[in-house]
Symmetry: C2
Subunit: 539 residues, 2 copies
């Protein structure tokens, strides 16, 4: 299987901020966009397509802010727009002006290349469309821009009228476009269909790009097929964000080209930042990360079946197609009811415990299986898992014990619509290591029940454990799960941090208050057991 | 672009219940598996691989239950297992016996086909592995089974030692296997690499199958590439469930082959059940459906950008690669802050309102944009959207008005660990259409705060609106969203049903009680406004 050689010049153009932003439910502020651009630059993409200035006020503001604040070390910013309006002149077109004045050296224009779109959607003639391409491209080139042209609906257009589609490519190239990008805008292509079309466009003689959507589940494969047929410029989005089924996932395409074909597109260090980049951008966009995403997904190197785990201890390469650390991911041994002793033992060792005693490991495995049947999940909640281990090993000194708690949320007559007030009462016994048990009853307040309980727990523990002031709830995830039948089970995961460490606990209950209480009180419990929160010695 | 012709005989083997069950977080009861099998049968797959009897007690129980209860109209059940243990005899091997006695006519065996796995993982000789294949296959064939053989790690094995990998294929075929399935177990293949390997295996002369994993994001593409190279048997899972990045998504592969290549794998009616099958199985497995999933995803035909929506009104085929109804999905016009008047107007019309007045449509669009900036999402919550429309159109007669509400959740001293009790007080004025306003103050109880509030609302409304007894909360989804800064916003979506209709409302607030209250009270509000809950006339 011969590996294709990399082209001399290769472009990775990220369009998360422009095409990716079209995804259902995605809304990015200017601040979000600047942060995302920073992550993309750190990753090392060649181009960052920032948006459509003039058409979208948020995007216009982004380019203004970027000109003032955005320091890019690796990437170049690209402004996106369309060809001028039919019947006008690029020099007079306000959207062309916005593109020209966005402050970037690079611009990318979308042009119609499917005859039916020209006549039915734009409502102009095929000749005028070519003039729109030539005029807008040459205008921007004259003003010192490097121009890329996105040929929208190219593959459908080539199928319907190949001569016209190629004429659009040729016109763009002759007007000075540096790259002409073939777009599978409707996403309907299959990989084996790509080569002939890309080769035909390649005969025009201009550098080609590829822009795929995932409507047949083949966006990554189609992109690679186009590259194999000569494209030197790929477009996609981080995590495959985008309209409908999304754009080609740039993280997958880049990892494939670099790790399978050995192309040095990013430095090894940049590639090792792939997982972090994917997750950071998921956080900013507030999209739940896709756990089964290739390369960067939380599950993508996680070995579950007891069968595999015992073999992994022998030779990791037997069961992994690449070394996960190359993309900044980990091989994870999952604890689950399909796991054997091997998984629990490996995970225990990772946390610093010796579980080589087979009977002990078997007993803990049984407990885990039973808890999981109840709805607990230890795959993310390492702190809860460690508390369980310590308990079984007899290595757990309880820092406190709960007597009772309650929380009230109310909307009172006369309150503004939607406003509520929450108050929690917690009664516990704190075990002062020197002075012995101390009973406290406190009232906490907050903007919601979990906030109020968190406030109450802090107040109840601080008199004995002052450093608990530094414990902060940093993430909170709730999931309602059906366990079969009509009894829903709620699971809460909490991330808590003292500024130096972050730890995750899990709680399960019949409602969100119950499950949140368990995760919350365990988070304080764990932080105290580990001695977190105390100031670190000066290094 | 020449379309490949379908082979005379083509197998769709679904392994959701076996390989799919290896997915992180997936746990299926016997009842779940029977329900899933029913859906797969209705879809019309050729084979349903039900599990590994003898190795997994849950699977053993499934095959027993299936023999008694499962009536399959279209599909055949397959039992999965492995080759006999090294150094033994198939006739004496207990796992082989479990496979033989599982009550199915078809069995699928996994065999090692990568030399390093034979020596390092199985710890036996290459010759003995061939004997294990031959012995187990012929034993099962002698007992009247149709046998498929999964060649594990085939592609890596072929790369390392092509002669041995092909020898395994040949041995299986000569022992009587009807299909030999080439498995990309580590998922590391790219589509352009598939053809040569599959063709080489094809030269052996046995019918070939393909089983891919999605570690390079190319499982669907690799499966299709193998089919293009002659494979007549595809394996995958519904929704791509499976270990690590998952198996090839069977819904995508089948839709591609049927809609792009025109192969009549399922009847048109069965294919139109694809979306329903995908979503039903997601419900049973309790996996959040992937909104951007090709063909069946909630977003996969949803048109957002104002640009596209105006063109869709002209000609839907310009913007869709297939007709969504072919797979049982819908073209959805999304309401979002990127939408123009066109989207709001179309959606209003779908709900039965005339929004052709441009100024009215513009005003409603503005309100939607502002609400969305606050965290509301109307893409799923059609009932909340309709309430908003009715309010603007002056077509809203409020059935009730809320004075105050509160809810207490407590864990009392002596309660069993984890147990809580919730009690809610609601005071409202119900507008009896004949008798006028009636003030009620009631106490509700439940196993959680939302349950208790739901109970209280029902009790407060039933004296005036008796049919509210039929309103049931059927789904409840919470999401904590960062809107930028540290103020988290919680969004709740509620599905309510009266048995004939189901409607969805959205609530947003600073905490889960606030957002749930809004969605809940709006759900009752909407149900009353629409007159739901009243018994339907006999048809």
């Amino acid at each position: 299987m011969e590996m294709p050689l990399p082209p001399d010049n290769f472009h990775i153009l990220d369009t998360t901020l422009r095409d990716g932003a079209q995804q259902e439910g995605l809304r990015l502020s200017v601040a979000d966009k600047l942060r995302i651009a920073g992550h993309l630059d750190a990753l090392g993409v060649t181009f960052i397509e920032g948006g459509w200035p003039g058409a979208n006020p948020n995007d216009t503001a982004f380019f203004v802010a970027a000109a003032q604040e955005l320091q890019l070390a690796n990437s170049r910013l690209v402004a996106f727009g369309s060809t001028r309006k039919a019947g006008g002149r690029a020099a007079d077109d306000p959207l062309t002006a916005a593109l020209r004045d966005a402050g970037t050296d690079y611009v990318c224009l979308v042009a119609k290349s499917h005859d039916a779109h020209v006549t039915h959607a734009l409502r102009t003639t095929l000749e005028e469309n070519l003039a729109m391409v030539a005029d807008t491209v040459s205008h921007l080139v004259e003003h010192g821009k490097h121009v890329f042209v996105d040929c929208e609906h190219f593959f459908d257009g080539y199928r319907a009228n190949p001569g016209y589609a190629l004429e659009v490519v040729r016109t763009a190239a002759e007007a000075g476009a540096e790259v002409v990008v073939l777009c599978d805008t409707n996403g309907g292509m299959l990989p084996s269909q790509m080569g002939d079309v890309v080769s035909a466009a390649g005969a025009v003689g201009v550098d080609l790009g590829i822009h795929c959507h995932n409507d047949t589940g083949c966006a990554v494969a189609n992109t690679i097929a186009a590259v194999e047929a000569g494209a030197m410029h790929i477009q996609g989005t981080v995590n495959g964000y985008g309209e409908r089924t999304g754009n080609a996932d740039l993280t997958t395409v880049v990892a494939n080209l670099q790790l399978k074909y050995g192309w040095p597109l990013l430095t090894d260090q940049q590639l090792a930042g792939l997982t972090h980049t994917s997750h950071a951008i998921a956080d900013i966009t507030n999209q739940a990360p896709h756990t089964r995403q290739p390369y960067v997904g939380h599950s993508s190197f996680a070995h579950k079946a007891g069968l595999h785990a015992s073999a992994i201890k022998v030779d990791a390469d037997l069961y992994q197609h690449v070394d996960p650390s190359a993309v900044g991911n980990d091989m994870r041994m999952l604890i689950s009811d399909m796991a054997g002793r091997a998984n629990v033992q490996i995970k225990g060792e990772q946390l610093g415990f010796d579980l080589s005693d087979r009977e002990l490991a078997a007993r803990i495995t049984e407990i885990i299986k039973r808890r999981e049947a109840d709805g607990y999940s230890y795959e993310a909640a390492d702190a809860s898992f460690e508390l369980l281990l310590r308990d079984e090993l007899g290595e757990l000194d309880a820092p406190f014990g709960i007597a009772s708690w309650r929380v009230l949320t109310e909307h009172r007559p006369g309150d503004a619509e939607g406003d509520t007030y929450s108050e929690a009462t917690v009664k516990l016994v704190a075990h002062d290591p020197e002075l012995g048990p101390k009973r406290l009853a406190v009232v906490g307040e907050g903007n919601g029940p979990v906030d109020a309980l968190d406030d109450a727990l802090t107040q109840a523990l601080v008199p004995v454990f002052g450093h608990v002031e530094r414990f902060k709830l940093v993430d909170y995830r709730v999931r309602i799960m059906e366990t079969g039948g009509t009894d829903a089970v709620t699971r809460t995961l909490i991330d808590m941090s003292d500024g130096d460490h972050t730890w995750t606990t899990v709680g399960v209950g019949g409602n969100v208050i119950e499950s949140s209480w368990e995760a919350l009180s365990d988070a304080y419990f764990f932080g105290l057991v580990k001695g977190y929160g105390r100031p670190q010695p000066i290094q």
